[in-house]
Symmetry: D2
Subunit: 458 residues, 4 copies
C-alpha cells in the first residue's frame, strides 16, 4: 500500500461502513479497520465520506455545433468535473455527415488527448448511417465504444429517422451495444418554432413552448416501441418530466429493457427561469427545456424508487456573452445547453440532505450506475478491492453558496448562482493520485486516460 | 307522400318504434301510425326493421396503386354496397405526387360520375404537401371536402412525415376539416419486411409478423400526440387491436378530440387466416393485418361501450387471381386490401344477434355516426323528418350462408365464405327510390349523386 | 290526434329535425310536416326545441335519515322537477335495518302516492341483507324494481361490506337487475372525520378534506373489481373526479360492464365553495364533496366523449336554517346533500351553449340514457312514435339569472344563486297534458304514476 | 483476525471483487488481497462466491393456525434456512384475539429461544386492534419490532377492516414502523369459496379459482390507497401477478412509498400444479395461489428492473399427510402454505444462471434489501467492514437435483422435487462461526440470537 485513507466512512451504492482504504499502484487493495503500511502516504478522512469518484456519462466538451463550439474543452471541462468530484466522463463524439465513425473518433481523440485531467470514454453519435457506418457499429463495441447515441430532435441537424434508429438498435442488440436516445419529436419542435417565430414570439420563454412535455413523451414512447420491435436495450437520456417517465415505465411493464437518466438541472430549474430579465433566460435554454416546478418532485421520486437510473450533467456549455446572445430576437438560434459538470454531485447530494434519497442511492446515481451501464465497472464507479482508486473525500458539513466565481468551468455563468448547499467534495484522487485538494485542482493536464469500455450484456 | 313504408319497426341510432314512414320527393316527411296517402306507392315492411341506409366512410373504388388498380369500380362497388344495405360511401381520392388536389378530385369525379349507383363523397388523401396544396386544404372544407387522409405507413408510397401531419392538422383545425390517419409506423413495417425477406420468410403469414400491434399502437399514439400539440381533432381509421385502442383512450383521457373506427374484417379474421393453404392466405393480406383472435372481443367491447365510433369496410379489393398472386414468393408484393362493402352491415349486425351490441348501436355504427362525423348529417344517416329517404328494409329472420356467388362485388373472393348469418337487407331505397329488391340491384348506374359535405364542427 | 305541437325543432338523443308532433291519448302518434287534426289542441313551438321530458334517476324525496328528513316531499320535489323540464324521477327507497324490502317499498309508495306530479319509479337501497332480503331481490326486477343501490360510505349508516355487495351483485346478474353504487371508502372517510375533528378542524371545508378523490377512486375501483369477479353489470353514481373516472375506464378496458353518472353540481361547484362565509359553505356539503376546479373540465369531457353516461341531480335537500346548521362546530353533522332537481337540465344545457356537448348529447344525458339504463325506455326518454308524450318546449333564447326565488323546491337555497343562464324549459307536457306553462306548474298533485320498469338486459 | 476466508469472489448488492475476508469476533474487519493473520482459521473459498448470508423476512415457524401448527419449529426451520444459505429470518408473530402484543411476543420468544440456530427477529401480526394495542404499536418500533403485519384476507380469521388498517398505518407512520400487508380481498375469496363448494367444486384447483388475480390486485390497490391517505409507507408481501404489480407501480407513480416482495414459489409454480394427481395439488395450495405460467416472466422482469424489492420464502409448512389432507373434499380446508426456506436462495440464483438477473441483484433480493427494509442493516445483509460475518460460500459450479431427501425441513414434501439446479451454498458462517459445512448443519440449537431491529426511516 502506498496510500491509505484513514478514518473515513466509506460509501458505496449498497453499503456504508467505517473503514480505512488501502491503495497500491492506483488501485484499492485493502478495506479494513486500522490499516497501516510503512511509508504509505496517509490521508485523514475523519468526518468525511469516502466516495467513489463520480462518473458523468453525458458531456459535450470541445464540441462544434453549427456556428459555435462548446466553451469548455477537455482541459477546462475535466478540471471542473474533477473539482466537482467526478473522475470519469463519457463524452459525446459526433459523426459529421459523410464522415466515417473512425474519423469522428480520431477527431475526438485528438481533442481529448493531452488535455483531459480525468479518465474518459466516448459515445459515438450516429448522424449519417451508411452501410459502411453500420459495419463500423458492429465493430465498435469490441473496440471499447459500446454505446451509440441517436437524436430524434434537431431537424436539419443530427436528427435521424425511425429506420435509422431501427438499424442502429439492431447493431447494438447484436454486438453488445446500448443505444442512447435524445427523445424529442424533432418535426414537432421545428414546426412549433416556425409557428411561434412567425407570430413574433421570439423570446427565450418560447423555447419551452415549442417543446412541451408531449413532444418529449411522444418520442420517448416511439423510441421504446422501436427498441421493443427489434428486441434491443435502450437508454433514454435527459428525461425531464413525468409524461416521458410514464412512457419509460409503460415500456418496462411490457418487458422492454429500457433505462433512463435525468440531469441535474431538471431537479432545480423551471420554465420561469426562461423569463429572467435581460435575456438571462437564454442561459436556461437547453433541451428538453426546463419544466413546470412540480416535475422536480416527480423526478426526485423516480430517482429514489429506481424508475430513473442515474443523473448526468449533459454539460454542453455556451457563453452567455457572444454565444447565447446569438439568439436575441430568435430563441431558436440560442445555442442549446447549460453547464453542470461541476455542480452535478453537489446538486444531487442535496437530495440526501433533504431526505429525498439515501446516501447509497446518491453514490449509485452519480457513480456506480453509470459505470455499470456503460461498461466501466468494476474498474470505475465503486470503492472495492481491485478497482481504480478514484475517490472523493466528501465533507457533509461543508457549506457553500454557489457562485460563478467558485466554479472551474470556462463558461461565463452557472444555473445555480446563489444556491446555498451543504455537503461538498474536498479531496479527489484519480487512480490513487490526489488531483483536487481543498476544492482546487492540483493535477495535471493530460493526466486522464482513454477508457475502453465493455460490451453491454445481453 | 308518394311512397309509404308500412308496418315496419323503425330503428335509429337512438330509438326503436313501430311506425309507417311517409316519403315525398325522396325525403322522409312523416312518421306515424297508419299513414295513408292517395296514390302513394306502399311498401309493406311487416316483420322488417326499417333502417337508415348504411354510410360507409372508407372505400377505395377504382383506385390505382403502383402496378394494380382496385378490382371494383364505382359501378360494381356501389352495386355491391347497395345490395349490402349501404346507400352512401365516402371514397378515398388519392393525390399523386406533383398533382394538385383539384386535379386529384377531378380525376376521382371522372371515375365516379355516371357509374355510382348510390350517393358518394370524397376524402382527399394528401401525399405531397406543397404550399399550394396547403392552400387548397384551407379551401376544401368549404367546397364539401372536409376530411383529409394521411398515411403514416407505406414508406416510398403515400407515407408522410410528422411535419406534414402537423401542417395538415393545422389546416383541418383552422378550416373545419378532420384528419383521418392510417396509423402504422411505416419505417418499422418497411424494415421488418426487409429483414424477413432477407431471412427467406416470404409467405403471407409474415405480413402480420412485419406489422405487429406495436407498429400500429406507436403510430396511433404519435398521431394523437401531434393532434394534441396543434389542438386539432383526429380520426383514426381501421383500429385493429387493443394496443392501439389503449392509445386512443389515453389520448381522450388527456382531452384530445380523437375518434376512431374499426373495420368489419377485424371482427372476423385472425392471423391464422394468413396461413390458409395454396397461397389463399394472401386474401387476408390487408393493413393493419389480421390479429390474434382475442382482439375480436376487445373490438366488439369497444364498439359496444363507445370507445370506437363506427365500422367501415375499407373496401380495397384485388383479385386473388392475377393481383394477390403478384406476391407469391414475396409477401410485401401482395396488394393490400380486402372486400367488405357488401358484407359490412351483415357482419356488424351479427353482433346484435349475439347480444354484443344493441340494435340502435348497430344503426349508429354503420350509418349515423359516419354521417355525423363526416358532415353528411342530417341529410344522411338516420330516418327523420326532412332527411333523405335512404332506407333499408332489414329482415331479422332471413338467413344466409355467405358465398362468393351470393355477393355482388367484382373481386373473386370473400373473406366470409361459408359464414352462416342471420339478418339481411332485403329492400333498399335511395332518396325514395327502390334500388335493391330481394337482394338484387334494380337501380341504374349513375343514379348516385356527389355529396358536398359540411365542415367538422369546432 | 288530440294535441299537436307545431313548428318546433324536435331533438332526440340522435336526431334533430323540424317536425310537428301529433299526440293522441297521451302518446306520440305522428311526426311530420304540417300535421293537422280536427279539433286538436295546437301548441305553437316556433323557435323552440321540442325535447323529451327529462328523466332524473337519482333523487331523495321525503327521505328520512338519522334525525332529519329531506325538505322536499314528493309534491314539492316533483313540482320543482317539472318546472325544470323533468317528467320522470327514480327515487331512492331506503330499507331500514330489520325491514323487508317489501315494507320499505310500501312505505315509499305511501310517500309518493297522491303527491307526485310527474311519473316515478323506485330504486331499492339495500342496507341490511338477510337471506330473506336476498330472495326479495331475486323477485324485484320482475316486479318493476330492477335496480339495487348500495352504499360503500356512511359507516354506522347504510354502508355495506364487500360480501354484501358480492351477494347483491349476483342477484342483479341473475335476475336482470343493475346495482348502483355510492363509491366512497366509508372507513377512510370516517377515520379522517375523527382525526380532523380531534384536531379541531370542524368547519365545512374539512368535509372535502375528509374524503379526497382517492377515497372515491379506491371505492370505485373496488366496486368494479367486485362486479368483475361475479360478472355483473354496475352503475357508479355521482362520479366527481378524474381519479374515479380513470377507474371506470380501466374497468371498461378490461371488459367490465360499468356505466356511470355525474351530477349537475360537480359541473359547477368546487372546494372553494365550502369556504363561503357565515357557514354558507354547509350548503355545499354533499358527497362526494365538491372538487378542485379543473375537475369540471374533466367531467364535461367525459360527458362529451361517452365516458360518462348521464347526469342526475342527486337531489337530496336540507334547509340551511335548521338542518344544515346542525353541523355548526362539527362538519360531520351537516346533513349531506344539495338541491338540483330543477336546475339539472338548465345546468347541463349550458354545455350546449358553450360548445362542450351537442344538443343531441344533452338530450341523451338528461333523458334518453337514464330511461334506457333504468328500464323506462321506450315509454320514457325520447320523442318517438308510441312513446309517452312527455315533452318539453325549450326556449334556447330565454335567459335567466338563477335565484332561490325563481325556483320551486321547498329548500331554502340554491347552489346556483346568481348564475346567468341561457336556454330554459317553458312548457312541459306529461303524457300529453300541459303541466308547466311559462315556467309555472299548472298540473295537479297526484298526477304522477308509478312506473314498473323493465329488467336490465344481460 | 481469528478467521480468514481466502481466494473467494466477494459479492455484495452492488459490487463483485476478488478479496479475502478477515473476521474478528464474529465481525468482518478486513477486505483485501492476501490477508494474513497469525493463528487465524483459514477457509479456502477458491472458485466460490463469498456472499452475505441470506435474510428471509417472511417465515411462519411453529405457528398455530386454527386446528394445525406449522410443521417446522424454530429448530428445524432455521436448520433448513441455514442449509439453504440463510442466516437471518424475521418470523411472523401472531397476536391472538384478546391478547396484548406483549403477550404474543412473549409467546413467540418462548418458541424461538433455545431452538433457533440462526438469528431472528419478529414482525407483529395485528389481529385485534384495541386502544391498548394501538398504544403498544407506538412503542414497538423503539423496542426492536418496527414492522406490523396485516391481513386483508382470511375472513373470520386474521382479516382486518380498512379502519384497522388506517389506524395501524398511522402508528407506523408516526413511530418508524412499516406495515406489511397480505393483499387479497377476503370477502371476495370467502364468497367464491362458498359458491364453488356449493357447486361441488371441492378439488384443490378451485383454490386458484376462488382467488384470481383481481382479488389480489383489488386489495393491493386498496392498501396502497389507504397508505396514501394517511401518508404512511407500505410493504406488500407475496405479489404473485402482473395485475397486482401494476397497482404497485401506479401507486409509486403517484408518489406513494410502496415496496413489495414476491416469493420463490411464484417464480416456479403455476395453476396446473394444483391439478396434480392423488390430491398432490394440495401441496401447492398457498395464498395468493399459483398463477398462470406467463406471470413468472412478469415477476422475474420486476425483480430485474427494481419494481419488486426482494424475494422471501413465506415458509409456512404443513405436511401433506395428516395436514394438507384435511382438505380432501373441501379445498377451503387445506391449510395454506408451502415450504421454501431452504430452496429460496437456490431458486432465485437460477435467475442468475439464466441471465434474468445479475449476481449483485441476487444478493440484493435475498439479503441486502430485506436487511435494509426491515432495520437489520448494516449489521446484516452485506459483507462490509463492521458487519456481522454472516457469510455463505456459494459454489456456482455445483449441481443438484432437488429432492425431499436432500432438504432439511421437517415437512414431508418440496415444491421443487426433481428440479435440476446449478449453484449451491456449501459453507455457511453465522457471526464468524461455521454452521453449515458441505450442505450439512454443524451448528447448535439455540445458536441464534434475537435481533432488535431499527425503525423504518421517514
Amino acid at each position: 500500500m502506498d496510500t491509505i485513507i484513514k478514518n473515513g466512512l466509506v460509501v458505496t451504492a449498497s453499503d456504508t461502513f467505517a473503514a480505512d482504504v488501502g491503495i497500491a499502484g492506483g488501485v484499492v487493495v485493502q478495506l479494513g479497520q486500522s490499516l497501516h503500511a510503512e511509508g504509505a502516504h496517509v490521508i485523514d478522512a475523519s468526518g468525511r465520506y469516502v466516495l467513489p469518484g463520480g462518473v458523468d456519462p453525458h458531456t459535450h466538451l470541445d464540441s462544434p455545433s453549427q456556428q459555435v463550439v462548446t466553451a469548455d474543452d477537455f482541459r477546462s471541462g475535466t478540471v471542473a468535473a474533477a473539482c466537482g468530484g467526478t473522475t470519469t466522463i463519457i463524452d459525446m463524439c459526433f459523426q459529421r455527415h459523410g464522415e466515417s465513425l473512425a474519423e469522428a473518433l480520431a477527431d475526438w481523440h485528438r481533442r481529448a488527448a493531452g488535455r483531459a485531467v480525468i479518465d474518459y470514454g466516448f459515445h459515438i453519435v450516429v448522424v449519417d448511417l451508411t452501410d459502411q457506418v453500420e459495419a463500423e457499429l458492429a465493430r465498435l463495441p469490441g473496440e471499447g465504444i459500446p454505446s451509440f447515441k441517436l437524436f430524434m430532435a434537431y431537424k436539419h441537424g443530427p436528427m435521424v429517422d425511425d429506420l435509422t434508429m431501427l438499424r442502429v438498435l439492431e447493431q447494438a442488440r447484436d454486438h453488445g451495444g446500448l443505444v442512447l436516445v435524445h427523445a424529442e419529436n424533432g418535426d414537432a419542435a421545428f414546426h412549433a418554432q416556425r409557428r411561434l417565430l412567425a407570430e413574433g414570439k421570439t423570446a427565450p420563454r418560447y423555447h419551452a413552448v415549442s417543446r412541451p412535455p408531449r413532444v418529449e413523451a411522444e418520442a420517448t414512447a416511439r423510441a421504446i416501441a422501436l427498441a421493443e420491435l427489434v428486441g434491443a436495450p435502450l437508454f433514454v437520456v435527459h428525461v425531464s418530466c413525468g409524461e416521458a417517465l410514464e412512457e419509460v415505465l409503460r415500456g418496462r411493464a411490457r418487458g422492454v429493457h429500457v433505462r433512463a437518466e435525468t440531469c441535474t438541472h431538471y431537479l432545480y430549474t423551471s420554465e420561469a427561469d426562461l423569463d429572467r430579465p435581460d435575456f438571462a433566460g437564454a442561459k436556461y435554454v437547453f433541451t428538453p427545456p426546463p419544466r413546470q416546478p412540480h416535475q422536480q418532485a416527480v423526478l426526485w421520486n423516480a430517482l429514489a424508487d429506481g424508475a430513473l437510473q442515474l443523473v448526468s450533467s449533459d454539460h454542453s456549455v455556451f457563453n452567455f456573452h457572444g454565444q447565447k446572445e446569438l439568439g436575441r430576437g430568435d430563441f431558436s438560434k440560442i445555442p442549446n445547453g447549460a453547464p453542470g459538470i461541476e455542480e452535478r454531485l453537489i446538486g444531487v447530494y442535496q437530495g440526501v440532505q433533504s431526505g429525498k434519497i439515501t446516501l447509497n442511492r446518491f453514490v449509485d446515481l452519480v457513480a456506480t450506475a453509470p459505470a455499470k451501464l456503460f461498461g466501466l465497472y468494476p474498474r470505475k464507479g465503486t470503492i472495492a478491492i481491485g478497482g481504480d482508486a478514484d475517490i472523493v473525500l466528501w465533507n457533509p458539513a461543508a457549506e457553500l453558496t454557489i457562485t460563478q466565481a467558485a466554479l472551474h468551468h470556462q463558461v461565463d455563468y452557472t444555473l445555480y448562482e446563489g444556491l446555498r448547499v451543504r455537503g461538498l467534495p474536498e479531496t479527489v484522487l484519480l487512480r490513487g493520485q490526489v488531483i483536487v485538494e481543498g476544492r482546487e485542482f492540483v493535477g495535471r493536464a493530460g493526466g486522464g486516460q482513454f477508457l475502453r469500455r465493455a460490451r453491454y450484456p445481453k
